[in-house]
Symmetry: C2
Subunit: 429 residues, 2 copies
């Protein structure tokens, strides 16, 4: 929800809304971030909130598959909940029912993601949205109380809509993917409720979802779906401390630590100025960092999310990497550019995904020093604390709602499990 | 248009409409087949008309790729034309402008289809819809007068939405595919018009559409796109004489000829009764017939479309295979079942797709006879005549609109090229 609110004022959301508002049906569902003033039908709410959830690349991450499951699932789920509250009597959903459906959706996304990982992602599919439509269908299907057979068809209709190509990374269409996945899953569940049929073996058929989306690979559905209900992927779903591709988080974490270390040394050395372009930083990283985030000269905030160099530069310069450090003017700032250009990053096959090691020439000690991050902040070993999560939520939401309303929204959301009526929690956000 | 009207009363369309009508926006666009009385916003009109266009498997076919391009393209195109007529001043589209956009969309679909054929289809994608969203985006983009850059993004947004798995054949979701493709292309063009961006090389990028959708295959974009504007795939788009998988048309054509031959001989032999279960028919066909349409015991009309045996049986028994011969009660008829069960079909790698050869034991001549079809009706060599097309249109439309209005609609559609305002032609259909 923090990401949806934070993303709601992004130009990509405004463009999508301008394009599609002439088609809106009854405004029964909230477009979050506008204090309940801005509403749309459930299909468009799922789409636009889904876009907002991902547009800052700041959403949750299932680390084993680099899937961001909550955006597609929750965007569809909250939309159908608000829709039912307006169209059905009694159509209220409790917080517990909502969370059950959310977990069902996230498990569906993540287990299907594991089943086709890694060949699915390697070929070029954006796994967040290709599995997100299935997760959204499961969550909405749960709220609609679909029968087993209807749920089978809902998953099939969702499976037939495979949205998300990796070549879109760096453009508005990247965030369109989870939005469209939310909408696709919602539509699939609604169609199945009316008896619309799909194949009975949509996932496992020879020409069904799993085989088709791995290209020539070998999906492993049986292996992963066997854990349903016993071991939980939702517990391995992490939260991002920085609003960019998760693979560069260890470098950013390391550079924030370096910023702090240099600040401390500068204090000791009576505020001697440090030229950050002269540190000769050389970072060793997991190979995927180079593959996914090697944009040397990002032109705007969106491209900067795929630049490990930008993340490292703002971490060094400001000691933080929040959405503010990914604003276009920061990306185009001459000082940031100079630091960015001076950083060297290289792949090292021995590095784990959450690990990083860098060397730099210390201006105080006048020798090459090393800084190592074993488990970046946001990893399963070093999760964000409840306080850090609250700060992340409020930091994002305050830009849109102002601080008091952002803090109020944070409190509401932390307490949603106890809610008798979910719409009462969310419709003023 | 004939197929959309004919399909409009199919239960699949009713189910989809029931599921989605609570989300309709302003009803500016016609749901064809209801005489202008039933309307929806353009997104839902594109979806529902697109479903109707394909639900009887009776639509046009680009034979080189087994793509049915007009359904997705025209459903999106007519929807945006009606939308603009209501929301823009002056928002009228001439018949010539509409046809230009239709050709642009069909060329886009077919050339992209050729570029990824055959591996794309072999893996399990429903090529009609996976290329249909791109064709729809091109057609709508043309009507919206998108700039080159906007069109590039429109095609990218459409490319990111890959709908259609072959495992759905035989279920309602098969016809959902072209409907969703129409809607996806429409949404893509509308988003691009508002500046929503995609990758600049969505089709040709390493992890772009063509490479991703062929799995491990080798797409050939350059080769096929080079013919844009010089050679026309729309001229190789054929019309189906029978409402079922096109691969079994040679067998149906042959069995209709056999019906006529036996009727003639029966007349000569003073109406001697023929037991159609005793003919010992053995048909040799292109291997794809067996792969795609080998349902031995279809349970209903939908499954019967994928049964070469059913097509052969009704052709033998009734001398025709129109939608009426694919009604559920015909599929379940004991006489039809008995004839169906007595027919033998086998793959022969030497057969062309539009060819077939069968042997049977003639009850009059009391010997094994042969009947060969070199180019089935509906092939490029034996196209349907204008009269046959008109009969096909009226036959489909009369079930829905009644014969006088069906004939009126046929006349309107034949003359659409000269129309000053396309909406004036179509909104009463």
């Amino acid at each position: 929800m923090g990401c949806v609110i934070g993303g709601s004022t992004h130009p990509a959301v405004a463009k999508a809304r301008n394009a599609l508002s002439p088609f809106f049906g009854y405004g029964w569902c909230t477009l979050y971030g506008h204090g309940g003033a801005s509403r749309a039908d459930a299909q468009h709410a799922a789409l636009l909130n889904g876009i907002a959830s991902h547009v800052h690349d700041y959403d949750d991450t299932h680390l084993a598959t680099i899937t961001h499951p909550a955006g597609p699932v929750a965007s569809a789920l909250l939309a159908i909940i608000e829709h039912l509250a307006h169209t059905k009597e009694p159509g209220l959903t409790t917080g517990e029912e909502m969370l059950t459906a959310l977990v069902a959706g996230i498990e569906t996304s993540c287990l299907l993601g594991l089943s086709v990982w890694p060949s699915h992602y390697d070929i070029g599919w954006h796994i967040t949205s290709t599995t997100g439509s299935l997760g959204a269908a499961a969550a909405v299907g749960r709220i609609l109380r679909l029968s087993t057979e209807q749920m089978q068809h809902a998953l099939g209709i969702a499976a037939s809509q495979v949205t998300g190509l990796r070549c879109m990374f760096g453009s508005d269409t990247k965030s369109f993917h989870p939005g469209r996945a939310a909408q696709a899953g919602l539509v699939a569940a609604l169609l199945a409720q009316q008896g619309y049929t799909a194949s009975e073996d949509s996932l496992e058929a020879k020409r069904g979802w799993a085989n088709v989306v791995v290209g020539g690979g070998q999906p492993q559905l049986d292996k992963h779906l066997a854990q349903l209900g016993t071991s939980w992927e939702v517990k391995k779903n992490a939260f991002k401390p920085f609003p960019c591709g998760i693979v560069c988080h260890p470098v950013i974490d390391g550079c924030i630590k370096l910023h702090e270390r240099l600040l401390e040394q500068a204090n000791v050395n009576k505020h001697q100025d440090v030229d950050l372009t002269k540190l000769q930083i050389r970072a060793k990283v997991h190979p995927l960092v180079i593959e996914l985030t090697s944009k040397r000269k990002p032109r705007d905030g969106l491209e900067a999310k795929f630049s490990v160099y930008h993340g490292a530069a703002v971490a060094l310069l400001y000691g933080k990497a929040t959405p503010a450090e990914y604003a276009d003017d920061v990306v185009q700032d001459a000082t940031v550019i100079a630091i960015r250009d001076a950083i060297h990053v290289e792949a090292d096959a021995d590095m784990r995904a959450e690990q990083m090691s860098l060397t730099y020439v210390c201006p105080f000690e006048r020798r090459t020093c090393t800084l190592v991050v074993e488990h970046a902040l946001g990893s399963l070993e070093t999760p964000m604390t409840r306080e850090q999560l609250t700060r992340k939520f409020v930091d994002q939401a305050a830009h849109v709602l102002g601080k008091p309303r952002a803090e109020d929204a944070s409190r509401r959301m932390w307490n949603i499990a106890a809610a008798k009526d979910v719409t009462d929690v969310v419709r003023w956000i």
